[in-house]
Symmetry: C2
Subunit: 547 residues, 2 copies
């Protein structure tokens, strides 16, 4: 145990500070006051970005690639615009762990040169800036995974996913923050501190891909990369008014993504795309990766190509109003009603989803997160002597201080498989193709309060592909006020009570967007994104921005 | 612990004895003497089966279905012929744990009635008798998995695989023996005793699917079902002059297959087909199962349909002469040379395969077989008080009496994944599509001596689909005698020495067939069987028997 974890942590801070492209820093006196909650309008209102840069940074990745393919935009101007916006965003949100400006611009120049030479794009992600969660390792760079002890750990290879994205033409311009232990639906660590939500800086951007949430919410990149073992892609997407996709397990390559419990397979984490603007961009990302057959390198992956699936109105969508354990807050319930009305009006068949043993699912997954009672994570904390943050302690408390025996682990895995098969069978028996549900009991949580994971973790345990999208609605001071009936709500148990009491009223969540989640059957990743696209279009009317 | 495990074991013996169709028992005085080693000619030489029955039982499943489809054979006569042969085989080999004569015949009648009514077959396995390893559970029947404690355990569902095969028209007529703990490459337990090899009854049929090995070798069924976590399909196939296929993991459904360490995923066992006559039948089985999309019920399976792949001579086949640890016995090396010559003569590109860290692979897999130090298996043994058999102690010794911590388990799993990806990368880098290798250091082992697993287990750890087929050769008293050079062989270590000393000379293995193994790249199951078919045709000249 180091006597001075702070000096070790400083190494991580230095990586960040030394990487910030100073030329784009907003003068401190032009930044909004710390008391200003929402900063999402700042890029436009500040006058610091040109109209052209605002146009670019409001575009989808799909549209950007299209324009670059026509020669109407260069990779250099695209990357520059997003870098500027990212630096600005970082000053207000503290979402970055390292900027990669020089490499990104050099890569953009290469891409432009290739285009000038050949008239062709390098690949389907040509010139698309992508922000990357820090624990996805990069060649010759540090990778700390949110641990002070690892601030000077350096790897010799890019993570396989980054290699593939790079071949497809993507440009990595910024790496993003994550919580200590990666096990918070929040985003704070002892290295680069706490990331805040661009819609309301008193709220968390969610986690563990919280830096990505902020990056997407502020449009520091059209696409980002998160990881998810209990909601870590979907919660930050929902909290930040963005898009996220948790693919089925064993589709996207995990080689080179660093976690404390390396080799743990009891509950599989997945890596997946986040997007600031559209479901279509999530598809673009997935197709670009899977078209390169990652299973021919990371052989545990399923050898299943990405299929082209067109959205179809011939589907049955179920709405899960409540998971039977924790009642969602009023804005969430309002958005579900809103979605239902829009879908019914559009002629989609909508039914209610009766949750099936979600508490049982949580009992399994929470026990399997830490079969070692969190020993490995505590070991890495102890290596530097850094204090465990409150939400780390919270997550570790799932383990209940008890190491599972191998037999107990096997029993839980067997239960997991039974539960997963039962859940799938239930969707078939009920004739339900997709389930729309909350991502979280509330909208973006107040900093430090995000304790209930099971609106997202349930799809991890049953391994359903699931996408998060904005409903188009935000918290409304009038519509979301507690009614007399709400005030009389008698919680089912202590957990329900704890979560319900966090609401208090819409004021606490001023300006927060309301995200929804849609899950499809296992391995129907393509169908799930296709349905998400149609549902989002119907619900929020989002038709994307194009030049 | 029961004071009388023998009376508990008797329950398993009773299941068997009560099930034997007495009308087909060969009178004791017509059986060959116990001293007669080979009994494979007995069905023909004894005069106890009609010419028609001999014809039927010499046919492949594919040919049988074809004939039933033409109305040239009825399911009833097919099932009857195989039942008779199975009863005869059991008397000489002790391979069965339960006969299912009444149900099989009733099912055959149903199938015939269906055919008479519609002129159609029920499915691709219409009327095909399949022998089934005992631990694949059957509705309302006991399933002991080789443990005395479980002799009266009854399940309420057929294993998912059996449900699918049954829908495809298969008829289950006999259940087959397995060793205590399922972890011997041999076949003896304290319930129904020891199964012997039809080619030489002083030898083991292999294991753990040893009852299946004997069943295939004696042609008690055209198809059988085995399971394999380290060679348990391929060894008995090789030892008994038959065919076996270990598919990639997560393709065939495992629901309802009973093992002591249920829920264990550290090393995945697989279930797969065995065949008495042909590679083609292994394909028939795989297609019949996967065409029913088992992943829509057992959701962990890969949603990958069975592809039609035609054999192609445009392939590079490597020959692994030796795994770098244990030198194969002379007959095996002779068969590899024979195969090489035939393949080269047929214009196939053949290279040598330099093994890659096979001992490292064994270190990983053998540790991961028993992360609980075998506690669970000992627990089930203790439940009845039955003594552990010598090869059970041998297998449990892999665990080294040490329970792995969760972190140690994760580390090994991480190493497993790295090794698997490296091995796959090596095949690509070397331009090798398939690897032909031994299944075992020798031909069928002398009873109790089968200790070295790594010619098959290596493909379990790197998860390559692999098929076993007969080379067409058998042990030859002259060709396989130890040369002066052989006698001077200096083993690499104690393991190599132990295995080499088991050879002694061809006399010890009189009549034993020599099997070979072919492995393909991960998930290229279809390509592997297609290549196996072509290779076998070239090497052994087997063109199958048809009516």
């Amino acid at each position: 145990m180091s006597l001075n974890w702070e000096s070790q942590a400083q190494k991580g801070k230095d990586v960040l500070n030394n990487s910030i492209p100073k030329q784009w820093l907003v003068p401190v006196d032009r930044l909004p006051p710390a008391s200003q909650k929402s900063v999402v309008e700042f890029p436009r209102s500040s006058g610091l970005l040109s109209t052209h840069e605002l146009l670019i940074t409001d575009m989808t990745a799909t549209a950007l690639v299209e324009e670059m393919g026509k020669g109407a935009l260069t990779a250099e101007e695209v990357v520059t615009a997003f870098l500027k916006r990212a630096v600005m965003g970082h000053q207000m949100l503290n979402f970055a762990t390292e900027f990669l400006a020089d490499e990104a611009l050099a890569r953009a120049e290469e891409l432009d040169a290739y285009y000038r030479r050949t008239g062709k794009l390098v690949g389907p992600l040509h010139g698309v800036p992508i922000s990357v969660k820090e624990h996805i390792s990069m060649k010759n760079r540090t990778c700390n995974t949110g641990y002070v002890a690892w601030t000077d750990k350096v790897y010799t290879e890019d993570a396989l996913l980054l290699q593939l994205l790079s071949k497809a033409g993507a440009v990595f311009h910024v790496r993003t923050n994550q919580p200590q232990s990666l096990m918070h639906l929040c985003c704070s660590n002892n290295i680069t501190g706490t990331t805040v939500n661009p819609y309301n800086r008193t709220l968390t951007p969610g986690g563990s891909s919280g830096g990505e949430g902020a990056s997407m919410g502020f449009r520091c990149a059209p696409l980002g990369i998160g990881t998810d073992i209990g909601g870590s892609i979907r919660c930050p997407a929902a909290f930040c008014g963005a898009y996220g996709f948790r693919p089925s397990s064993l589709r996207n390559p995990a080689t080179g993504i660093k976690v404390a419990s390396s080799g743990q397979e009891n509950i599989r984490g997945v890596v997946g795309p986040m997007s600031s603007r559209s479901i279509e961009d999530l598809e673009l990302f997935q197709r670009a990766v899977l078209d390169q057959e990652p299973w021919d390198v990371e052989t545990s992956l399923m050898p299943v190509p990405w299929k082209n699936v067109a959205p179809s109105r011939e589907m049955t969508v179920a709405i899960m109003w409540d998971d039977g354990w924790v009642r969602p807050h009023p804005p969430i319930t309002r958005a579900l009603h809103f979605a239902r009305e829009k879908l019914v009006a559009a002629g989609i068949k909508v039914v209610d989803w009766e949750p099936y043993k979600h508490q049982h699912g949580w009992d399994i997954i929470s026990a399997l997160y830490y079969p070692d009672a969190g020993a490995k994570q505590r070991q890495v904390l102890a290596q530097s002597g850094e204090p465990a943050r409150p939400l780390t302690e919270w997550a570790l408390s799932y383990a209940g201080n008890k190491t599972l025996s191998q037999e107990e682990t096997w029993n839980l895995q067997e239960q997991r498989e039974i539960f997963k098969d039962e859940y799938h069978g239930l969707m078939k028996a009920r004739g339900v193709d997709f389930i729309i549900s909350p991502n979280y009991p509330g909208v973006a949580a107040v900093m430090g309060e995000s304790q209930y994971w099971n609106y997202t973790a349930i799809w991890n345990i049953v391994d359903l592909p699931s996408a998060t999208f904005p409903s188009g609605l935000s918290v409304d001071p009038k519509l979301d006020a507690l009614t007399e009936l709400d005030k009389k709500y008698v919680p089912r148990d202590g957990v329900d009570e704890r979560e319900w009491q966090k609401y208090q009223g819409p004021e606490r969540y001023e300006g927060a967007p309301i995200g929804l989640q849609i899950a499809g059957k296992r391995y129907r990743d393509e169908e799930t994104l296709a349905a998400a696209k149609l549902v989002e279009e119907i619900v929020s009317g989002n038709s994307k921005s194009k030049l």
